[in-house]
Structure formats: structure tokens, C-alpha cells
Symmetry: C2
Subunit: 201 residues, 2 copies
DNA sequence: TGCAAAGCGGACCCATGGTCCGTATTCTTG
DNA sequence: CAAGAATACGGACCATGGGTCCGCTTTGCA
């Protein structure tokens, strides 16, 4: 690549920060009580370094997110798993939502930090856009389903980080139960009523 | 009466603050750029007064909310409208969700401020608890519907303030269209499949 | 080895929620 | 109506946290 690679101290520090942040967010109840200064300190780095590497808090969160999300994204794009494009829509939709839920269960704090993240709503983020677009397109292929756009929003809303945190964290709902509930719910949305489902085409 | 009423200057100031806050939140794009100092200034009052009257930012928001929400709450509790307890569950659920949606459409900024409101997730607020509890109970009465608790959460999630704001505000989805989409969605969730409930699982 | 360029880091800035306390207003009681 | 107690007022003040600045250090190319 033409563009210079970053200096090795920069690269090292970047990694250190990512690791420290990851640990800190995982350790603390609420993302709010992990400050940028904390992250810098834990990484053994100055605040200036931190901000130069990631721009701002959102940038740091985004970087963490991308790292964690890579595998899933790959599975969705090209994989042969139920997430991949080869899966028929009515099976792929639940699989996608289950994947989102699992991701948020596995990365509760991070997802929370990213999603509520203060200033802007999650709906501005481009990763949301991507998921919504994908889901919308898949829904579109299910015959008889109207309002794919809104439906995609509504389904994704059922997996919002703070809801997941509330249920899994405070209400102590076990992982598998949540997955089952979401699956049932999604199935219900996709399985439109008996009488009028026949004539659809 | 045992407990003294508040002094009249206090009462007057309280009103002034509520009014000023209402106006300010309505005028600004994001709740974030209405500061407590702004509110105090607009009300012609000192910050001390503001904080004494409402405790903190959340308290002010809550007070505003309660005022706005009163009518709906009454309709739900005792009214004869479709919101009231007399309505059969399968009709009441859509009515309730439509009411929530309309409220958030009519009070976009306020709802946004209240819901994302920074520190704590909406799921901690007791007004959410109330709505969720009510919806859960009504859902419970619909035969064949399982997981009422989760379903209530998921349905309410479809009316979250930031989603409403995103759709109505940025995406310019007209009010009636949103209501229709939500209604369709809710109907789909409530209209579960035939006896054998599909082979899915 | 020399010397830009890139990077470092922590002192510093500033906005904002929230507190404090001396002063002003209101209520009560005689 | 007087006067003291109780309550409220308000803006200076504080703490916190994101983000910036800039003199010094490290890196890496020649």
C-alpha cells in the first residue's frame, strides 16, 4: 500500500488502548463510568495519544466494535452458515436476529456503550444502517410481507442493547431463554395469520 | 391540611420553569442542547431555584412528562375509549401502542430527552415499568400468546423515542403512515398462526 | 549519524450538572 | 401590624469529563 503504515510505537499503543478499553468496559457495570482518562491510564498512555489514535470516544467504541464484529460480518456476507445469503429468507431473518442478540449478549457492555453512547441516537450510526438495510432486503423477499422497512426497524428494536442488558443483566433472564423468546417473537411476526396467508403470492 | 403547601413564589417559579423548559425543548433539535442553565435563564430564575424545585435534570423531565401524559393515563385507567379496561385485549393492545406512538409523535423532543436522557436506560424508569406491566397483563389475556413479558418489551421497543424521531424527523415518514405501519406490525404479532403453529423450530 | 516527521503525554481548557450560603420573601402568630 | 421563623432565592462556585495544545521524544529514512 502506498500510504505509510503507522509508526510502530503508534501501532503498539493503539493495540494497548484497545485492549485496555475492552477490559475496562467489560469490568464496569455502566459504560458511563469508564472515562477516557481511565482508558488512557490503563493502557499506560497519555490522553493525547488516545485521542489522536481514535478521534473521540465514539471512534474508540467503533474500533472496538469492528474488531469484535468481524467474524459475524464475514459469516453474513459470504458464509455458508444460516447467516449467509444462501439461506432462504424465512430462515435467514431469524438467524440474523439471533446473531445480533447473541452478539449483544456476549458484548453487553460494549454494545451498550456504543448504542446509547450519549449524543447521537443509534439510528445515525452506519453499522445500524447496514443491518437495517440487510434485514429489510431479506424481509422484502418474503412473500406477503409488507412494510419491510418498518418491520426491520421494529425487529431490530427488540434486540436493543439496553433492553438486552435490562433483561439479561437486571432481570437475570438466562441466555437461552432470551434466544427462544426472540425466536418465537420473530416467528410470529413472519408467520402471518392462517386465514389470509393462503391467498398471498 | 397537615403538610404545608409550598410558598406561592415557589409555586409560581415552578410553573415558570415548566413552561420555559417546555418551550425550550420544543424549540431545539436535540435535548442535549438545552442546558439547565438555559432553562433557568429562560424562566427568569436562578439555577438554585430550578434544582430545588425538581431535584435534577431527570426530575424536571419527569415533571414535564407527567403533565403531558395525564390525559392519556386517565383514558387508560378509567376511560371508555379503546384504551380503557373495557376494551377486549386484541383491540386494546393496538390501541395502547397507537397511543404511545401518538404521544411520542406529539412530544418528540420531550420523549427523546426523557428516554435517552443520558445516564440510566429507559428500562429503569417507573413509567416504563407501568406501561410494560399494563401491556403484559393485557397480552396475557390473549389466548395462545406466550411470553407476554418479552412480547410487551418487544412491542414497546418498536415505539422508542429515538426510532420515532428517526423515522418522523429524519426520514420524514408522515404521521399516519407510521401509525398504519405500527398497526400492521402489531396485528401481525397478535395474529399467531393456525393451531399447529407451523413446523418452524 | 543526523535530522525531519511522526508521535507522545499530561497540563490545560471549557461546558455542564449540581451545590452552597448569604440575602430576600413569605407566612405565622400575638 | 410587627417581628421572627421558616422557606425560598440566585448566582458564585465546584467537580467531572471530553477534548485540545504544544514542547519534548522517538522513529525511521538517507
Amino acid at each position: 500500500m502506498p500510504e505509510h503504515r503507522s509508526r510502530k510505537d503508534a501501532a503498539r499503543n493503539r493495540e494497548a488502548v484497545l485492549e485496555a478499553a475492552d477490559t475496562l468496559f467489560a469490568r464496569h457495570e455502566s459504560p458511563e463510568d469508564v472515562t477516557m482518562a481511565d482508558v488512557a491510564a490503563a493502557a499506560g498512555v497519555g490522553k493525547g495519544t488516545l485521542f489522536r489514535a481514535f478521534g473521540d470516544r465514539a471512534g474508540l467504541l467503533r474500533a472496538l466494535y469492528e474488531g469484535r464484529f468481524e467474524p459475524i460480518r464475514e459469516a453474513v456476507e459470504a458464509g455458508t452458515s444460516p447467516l449467509g445469503p444462501a439461506t432462504p429468507p424465512q430462515d435467514r431473518v431469524p438467524a440474523l436476529l439471533d446473531a445480533v442478540l447473541c452478539f449483544k449478549l456476549d458484548n453487553r457492555r460494549l454494545a451498550l456503550a456504543l448504542e446509547e453512547g450519549g449524543s447521537s441516537s443509534p439510528y445515525g450510526a452506519e453499522h445500524y444502517e447496514r443491518w437495517h438495510g440487510l434485514l429489510r432486503d431479506v424481509l422484502e423477499q418474503i412473500p406477503g410481507l409488507t412494510d419491510s422497512d418498518f418491520t426491520a426497524h421494529a425487529l431490530l428494536a427488540a434486540t436493543r442493547a439496553d433492553l438486552v442488558e435490562h433483561l439479561a443483566g437486571e432481570k437475570r433472564v438466562p441466555r437461552e431463554r432470551m434466544r427462544a423468546q426472540l425466536a418465537t417473537y420473530v416467528a410470529r411476526v413472519l408467520a402471518f395469520g392462517p386465514p389470509q396467508s393462503i391467498d398471498r403470492r
